[in-house]
Structures are given as structure tokens and as C-alpha cells.
Subunit: 154 residues, 2 copies
Amino acid sequence: MGNERTQKLSASLEDYLEAIFNLADDVGGARSKDIATTLGVTRSSVTGALQLLREKGLADHEPYGCVTLTQRGEAAAREVVRKHDILASFFADVLGVERDVAQRAACQAEHALGSEIIGRLLSFIDYVAVSGQSGRDVAGEFRLFHSRRSVRRI
Amino acid sequence: MGNERTQKLSASLEDYLEAIFNLADDVGGARSKDIATTLGVTRSSVTGALQLLREKGLADHEPYGCVTLTQRGEAAAREVVRKHDILASFFADVLGVERDVAQRAACQAEHALGSEIIGRLLSFIDYVAVSGQSGRDVAGEFRLFHSRRSVRRI
DNA sequence: TGACAAAGTTAGTTGCGACTAACTATACTG
DNA sequence: CAGTATAGTTAGTCGCAACTAACTTTGTCA
């Protein structure tokens, strides 16, 4: 109990995991420089974070080489990415927020919400998606509702 | 520009503002001890935070006395409380999460979301609330949808 | 192959936000 | 009103997560 398997990650380390995962996915490998660019931090900050991720058994990183995630690291990264995608989809597809605003908000909120809420949110997105098939498009109806209310406030 | 009026508050200071506001509302005054208990920190941490809030012109605090919020401090606190309430209501009333889980999640997420998203969320809650009056209760329907999907996964 | 640019690391600093321990002020109570 | 419990403050420490500056390694190319 209380070992490295159960420790909660900081928002910062979750961001690093997410960036490493996405870079590996997109470019085929995560270089320290690219992680720094993605997250808007210096290379030395990345070195420090990789050190921590290695200590926690989440990333492997031979100096001057590519960063790879361990099985546990990849699992943790997938969970962060999943939260991100669900939140971004909810903001954009249900609430009707601009894609890039939704993305940025998802980045912030993904660290704050547990799996109970995220699971329900995913469910809700699906509910809204199929709502059109039963004669009433919830997302569209809400957009109308929202724009009318906004107009009233001008 | 860049003066004290426009600076963004840390999540921690927002928590202090919120606690002070709620205590003043509930008990009629915010004592350092009570702020500490509410937030689960030590009294000395509160002293430090009050120092910062005073420097930022958000709280007045004569040593050994009650803490009061300035106009700007109260405005900032109201905004945090508003975000909290909207999020908690969304989690509980729309997603159907337990009240206390919703409260805790709102505490975490309230610092991460800007007014664009929060405004839409409020709008959405209203939309769901009036949805029942037009023959179809979105929240209730979703609960059914979610519970059926959950059962399928067992 | 030698030089240089780019990438990565190390060492040391900063700010924040918590903590403990020790001290001071206030308030209550016999 | 003296003594003590409670509240508040101060000083000093710690961990985290960033930073800069200086150094090392790697890779490229004339």
C-alpha cells in the first residue's frame, strides 16, 4: 500500500505524460525538445520532469535518446487523453463552444475531474448524439435556446 | 495595465476567497481558525494567504480580527462561488451524480473553467430544467439511458 | 575529420503554498 | 485579576515546478 502504483500524479506530470503519448502517436517518438515546445516550457524543465516520471516507473529515458512510456505510464497517459477528449467533445459538441476554446478548457479541466464524472459525461455525449434519432436533437435545441437567451441579454 | 486589477488569482487564493465569503455569509464573520478548518490547512497557512489577499487589495484584515473582503474581493469571491454552484448543479441535477461527489468535483473544476464555458453550462442547466415542460425531461431521460448502459457493462 | 549548431543536461535560483515549532495576543474562567 | 486555553502570528523549512546560465553530448557537413 502507498507504493508507486497508487500515487496520484500532479497536473504537471499528467501534462508531460499526455504530451509524450501524443508525440509518440503523431511523430513516432518523443524528443525532449518537442515535449518542451508542446508544453511551452524549457528543455531543462523537461529533463527534470522525465527524471520524476522515471522514478515513478512511468517513463523510460536513456539520456540523449527518445522517451518511451512504460506500460503503466501509457495506461496513465491514455486515461488523461481520454478525459481530455471527452471534455473537449462535451464542450464543443454539446455546449457548442468553439473547437479551440473547448480544447484549451479541456486541458485545464482534465486534471480536476475523476472517472465518475468523466464516465457520466461520456454517457451524456452519447445520449445527446442519439437524441436526434428519437425525433429531437438536444444539442441543436440547446443552441437555439442559448442563442435566444443571449440575444435577450444584449 | 498589468496592475492589481487584472491579475489572475491562483486556485489556492480563489479557495481562500470562497471560504471567507461563505463563512461571512453563514456565520457572519470569517475567523482565521474557521478558514483553516474549512480548507483543511494550518492557521499559519491562512495568515500567509491573508497577507497576499491584502496585498492584492482583495481582503482587509486587522491582526487578531475578523477578515472582511473588499469590494473587489467580494466580486471575485462571488464569481468563484457562482462557478462552483453552476458546476455542482450540472453534475448533480443533469448528470445525476451524488450531491457530495458533485460538490467535491465542483471545488476542483471551478478554478479551471472560464466564463464562456460556465455561462453555457448555466444556460444548459436552464435548458434541461425547462425541457420537462415541453414534454420530454432531458435529465430523467439521460438517467435512464445511463443506467441502461451501465447495466449492459456489468 | 574538425568545427559548429542543435539537443540535452546540470547546477543554482525563484515563487508558491504548504508545513512545524515557537512565540504573542486575546478571551475565558475560577 | 491571575492563569490558562485558544487564536493568531512569525520564522524557518520543504517540495514542486518552473526558470537561466553554463556545460556536455550528438549529429551534420564543408
